[in-house]
Every structure is written in C-alpha cells, then in structure tokens.
C-alpha cells in the first residue's frame, strides 16, 4: 500500500483549479473498483490515503499528466 495524499497535495499546489476533482473524475472507474470515493474537500481533510501500489501509480501518472510537470519526490518527503 502507498499513500496518495502527497500526490494530491502536490497537484493542488501546482495544478489548475480543481485538479484533484479532475484526477478523481478521470480515474473514477478504477477508483470505484478499489472502493475509493474521494473529492477535493475530503482529501484536504485527510492526513493519508493508503491505496494499492497499482492505483498509486495510476494516480501519479494522471496527476503528472494534468499538472504538466514531473512529480517532485523531494516535496513529497516534506509533506510526509
């Protein structure tokens, strides 16, 4: 399991308005398969969101695609 909360936090800081909801809507089918229902409001209230490794990779890939920058793992370390 891996924590996707730092990815969302990074996307919020660097992406377009409502980028988190966009990630959620784009990944909706795979999120539902993993019984995960997130919104930006919920994510802001969570300290961590642990998901299977495969879903973590999907969220990371989508976040990078929508933000348009490589994901900065150093920033992730600070959040963690």
């Amino acid at each position: 399991m891996k924590d996707i909360q730092p990815i969302f936090e990074w996307a919020l800081q660097n992406g377009d308005v409502k980028v988190v909801d966009r990630i959620c809507i784009k990944l909706l089918p795979v999120m539902l398969k993993n019984n995960i229902q997130l919104t930006e409001a919920l994510i802001k209230d969570c300290d961590s969101i642990d998901v299977p490794d495969a879903l973590y990779e999907e969220v990371l890939k989508m976040a990078v695609s929508l933000v348009g920058q490589p994901y900065d793992t150093n920033k992730e370390a600070k959040h963690v």
Partner: protein
C-alpha cells in the same frame, strides 16, 4: 433576414426567447471548462449527447425561424443566426439535398478551446456539428433522426479550418423527446432593496441587442468571448452529464460532477462579472452609484437582470455570508422543460457564478483599485483556503419557489 431586435426582452420574467428557444449568454471560460469536464469522463460516450443537445435546440429554433421561407432564404437565416449568436461564420450555399461538406476558419468553440487549453487530439466543435445537422434537417424537410454529421478537421487540433460533413442517413447523435413549454414560477420577488436598481436596470434594458457577432462572427465583450446559447442546449449538456455520472457512480458521481460543473460557473462569474465591472459601461453608468462593496453586488445584479438569466437578488449580503436568490433562473426553467421535477438541485452554473462574484468583490482588489488580476491569479486564489463554500439550498426544479444559494466562509 434575421434581426435580434425583433425579439423583445420579457421584463416580467427577466427572460429572452428567440424562435421558441430560451436564450442566455455564456462566456468562453464557462463553455470550455464545461466541455472539458464532460470529456474528462472518457468512459462515458458523450459525443452523441454533445451533438444531440445542439441539434435538438437548433432544430426547434430554426424550424420556427425558417417557417414559410424558401431554401435559399432559410440558408441565409441559418447563417445569420449562427453569426449573430457569436459562434463564427458558416457558408451554407453549397448545401443541397445530399448534405454539405462545410469548411470554416471561424469557430468560437475551436478558437476558444485552443486559446484556453492549447491543442487537443480530437475535434471539439460539437455545437456546430449539431447546428449543421439541424439546419440541413430544417431546410430539406428531414427529421433529425435521418441525418448524420461528423467533424473531420478542427482548428483546435492544429488544422487550418474546421470541416464538418453532413449527409442523409440514420442519425449518429442523440435524439431527444419533445420538451414542455416554459413554465414560469409566478411568485412575489424579494426586491434587491437598493435605491438605484430601477435606474440601472432601465439604463441597460435592451442593451443586450448590441452583443451580436462581429465580422468574424464573434462577440468579444468585457474581456471574454461570449455567445448566445440556447439555454436548453447548454443546460442539457450539464443534465445529461449528471445523469451519466449517476449511472456510473450513483450519489458520488453526481457530487463529483457537481463540483466541476460549479467550477465552470465560478470561472464564468469571476471573469465575466469581473470584465463587466472593469468595463467603460460600468465605470460610466454604474460606478457613480456605488459606495460599499454590497453596492457593487447589487449594481451587478441590477445590470445582469436585463440579460435573460432570471431575477437575481440577495436576501443576505456580507463578506462572511450571503444568501442569493434567482427567480425564474435559466437552469431550473430549462430542467423543468426537458425533464420535469428533479430530486436534487441542478443550478450549478448559477451557484458557481454567485460564488465567483463573492470572491471578486470581497477577495480581490477590484473594488479598491479596479484590478481583476490574471488567470494565474485566479488559480492562486482558488487554491487558497480562504475560499467560499457554496450550498445549493433551494431549487425551482425541486419544487421551491426560487433558486437559493448560501455562500459562506
């Protein structure tokens, strides 16, 4: 052949109708974000709905406008309507009973998509595909169910022109059932309670008629591009998307969709209202009446109540909390015409618009130094935790007398 001045504004219901279709203004920020939201859910086959919504509204409207006109006249009417409404330019002269392969370099949807989001890999002007299918059906006496349309080239994909192909055949877009007539909710309105309301509303009454397509078929106004949408076209996009999201994910689906649909309204409220409140017209006719921030909100309401979106007013108004109402708002009336009653509020555009307005008035320097800021500034502000929360508390489509939105910090 087509004159916008022939269609008077309904001052009792703050409503505009042309050829049997309710008409509203939307800006390119709203329409591009709405379109992107729908396309983001690529597990939903939205193309039939995107074209079908346009085809349905345009078919109803053109059928009325072209009644008792010849084929040649009807082509001219359709071209003028398209241009007047701000969608760009079309030349229908080569259309015949076999359809048309139409090329145009002036397209509101392709131009503004590219301007806001850059290039994409699929054509984006679904509206014009639907318009052309409708025009062909009306002019050559066919049902929409007997028309096919495809956009094969798009400026938003890097092409030099948009190309749409229309031909007879079993339709490849959604066909919708007939709509109900408009049903206004005739209840007493809570007035704006502002001494300058009547003066300002009267000043701008009829001014909408100046917002028509220029020589390129565009309506640049207030720092944005606006179009005159058939209300049922644009609202059906929201409603059909909401329904599809419920099918995919139930209540969670509509919650997620609602957040993004509201964001489209928020951007519209911020940029279009901001553009209005930094315009020469505002500075000349409205600003002299404004003393407080609340006056700015009421001045805007008095002005936009002449634009066909319903009657905007405020039951409470302060920086911390506002309760806005809209009597006969365009989203609820549209929902009732097309679907009847709703189990949940559907006025996302109005709600986002009110929230954007609050953000503009209370969280920017607009009132103090007249600056609106940049699109990046808008992003920064929206990321901030100082933003407003929006609660859609009453809805005509849910059985209430008016739309109500509560906005709080």
């Amino acid at each position: 052949m087509f004159d916008i001045n022939a269609y008077p504004f309904d001052t009792e219901h703050n409503y505009m109708e042309i050829g049997g279709e309710a008409m509203i203004f939307h800006c390119h920020h709203y329409l591009t974000i709405l379109t992107r939201t729908i396309l983001d859910a690529d597990y939903i086959d939205s193309r039939p709905m995107m074209i079908g919504s346009s085809a349905d509204a345009n078919y109803n409207q053109l059928k009325n406008l072209c009644a008792n006109h010849s084929i040649a006249e009807s082509k001219l009417i359709a071209q003028e309507v398209y241009k007047t409404f701000g969608y760009g330019l079309l030349d229908l002269s080569s259309m015949d009973e076999n359809g048309i392969t139409l090329s145009t370099t002036k397209s509101f949807f392709s131009k503004t998509w590219k301007m806001k989001f850059g290039l994409r890999d699929q054509p984006i002007d679904y509206y014009t595909s639907g318009f052309l299918a409708a025009a062909y059906a009306v002019i050559y006496g066919r049902e929409l169910a007997e028309v096919q349309v495809e956009q094969t080239e798009c400026i938003a994909c890097g092409a030099s022109a948009n190309i749409h192909v229309v031909k007879p055949g079993t339709s490849n877009f959604a066909i919708y059932p007939p709509k109900q007539p408009v049903a206004f909710k005739n209840v007493p309105k809570l007035p704006l309670n502002w001494e300058h309301e009547a003066a300002l509303t009267n000043t701008f009454l009829g001014a909408h008629a100046t917002l028509i397509g220029n020589e390129e078929g565009y309506i640049p106004a207030f720092g944005v591009y606006v179009v005159r949408n058939q209300s049922d076209y644009v609202n059906r996009l929201q409603f059909e998307f909401g329904r599809a999201m419920i099918e995919v994910a139930g209540d969670y689906g509509i919650t997620l969709a609602g957040e993004l649909l509201m964001e489209a309204g928020h951007a519209c409220g911020f940029f279009t209202y901001g553009g209005i409140m930094t315009s020469n017209e505002w500075n000349t006719y409205v600003k002299p009446y404004l003393k407080t921030r609340e006056d700015w909100v009421k001045g805007l309401a008095a002005m936009i109540n002449t634009m066909g979106w319903g009657y905007h007013t405020a039951a409470e108004l302060s920086e911390e909390r506002a309760v806005f109402r809209n009597y006969n708002d365009f989203e609820d009336l549209s929902y009732l015409r097309m679907y009847g009653k709703s189990d949940y509020p559907i006025h996302w555009a109005n709600s986002g618009g009110f929230t954007g307005l609050m953000q503009l008035i209370y969280k920017t320097n607009l009132v103090t130094d007249g600056s609106l800021g940049t699109e990046e500034g808008f992003r920064q502000m929206r990321r901030s935790k100082l933003g407003y929360k929006t609660h859609m508390s009453k809805s005509i489509a849910c059985g209430d007398d008016y739309l109500e939105v509560i906005i709080s910090q």
